[in-house]
Amino acid sequence: MLFSDNVRNAVYYHYSPTHRYSVGIEMVEDKFRIENYANLRLTYLLDRRNTDYSQQNLYFQLGFSSNVSDNHFFGLHGDWETRRWFAGFNLKSVETKAFKYIDQCYQVGVAPYLGDYGDLHTWIMVKTKKFSSEKGWTTYPVLKFFKGSTLLEFGFDKYNTWDAHLMHRF
């Protein structure tokens, strides 16, 4: 998984032994603290509700960094989706020797058409996020595409910074 926004660039490779949890390594270029480090990350599925038309998930996330400022984070990620609608959030508390802050992100989306299995799928989304190190919220549109085992998501905010997210499932 490749991820880039105004705070960091990251490459994340993870493995899921079961659908309950995954472990992975994330290589981070931190634009805020101007340093590079690796995160050892654990994601655990706290709850999943499947229905005929929807799925909702709640995950706990934990990460430890290799950098000298001894940072670690933990957080919650939740989402609910049908084939047409999506809503999700991400709350992340980050602690370092120098800083302690909370990242918040909320996202809603709609699929403009319902593709079949194997088609190109598209989501039009709105993301709003706030880092406690910054003033105010940033809200911006996001487009998400996926086809087969590859997903591409990108957004563009008012500060002319890009969010980009590329994921491939092996």
Binding site: T51, Q55, T82, R83, D116, Y117
Partner: protein
């Protein structure tokens, strides 16, 4: 639709499992036809199903109802999981109906518990199974 009905009429056997975890190989020749005529729905997309059946013969198709299968990207894991099973001749996912279609050789035993476990390992729940003999 007509093509699917024709395929169903030509089906030699039809069996069903009630979703309580038993691999049901019991055939109900003729019985199934009555059920279908009486309105029991196969609940698959007809054109998708007939496309799936192309090239298949002497096999049985497990039509699995799956909860939580709302996303193509997430359902990929189901396909990959079943493709590892050497017994599986073909697999397809019908997102619109929430079904997974799996073709097995006619002489293989379809174990619903195994199917449920495979789908659960991808994070969804298999709730119901119907078996069609083609």
């Amino acid at each position: 639709m007509m093509r699917t009905l024709a395929i169903l009429l030509l089906s030699v056997n039809y069996a069903w499992a009630d979703g309580k975890g038993e691999g049901n190989e019991t055939s109900h020749t003729g019985h199934a036809f009555e059920k279908l005529v009486d309105g029991e729905k196969l609940e698959v997309d007809p054109s998708r199903f007939s496309t799936f059946l192309e090239g298949l013969s002497d096999c049985q198709v497990a039509v699995v109802s799956v909860q939580g299968m709302v996303c193509d990207f997430c359902a990929r894991g189901i396909e990959k999981m079943f493709r590892r099973d050497p017994q599986v001749k073909k697999i397809d996912v019908d997102l619109s109906k929430g079904k997974v279609l799996i073709a097995y050789p006619d002489d293989s035993r379809i174990d619903f518990e195994d199917i449920k476990q495979k789908i659960l390992s991808n994070g969804q729940n298999a709730t119901h199974l119907k078996i069609l003999h083609i």
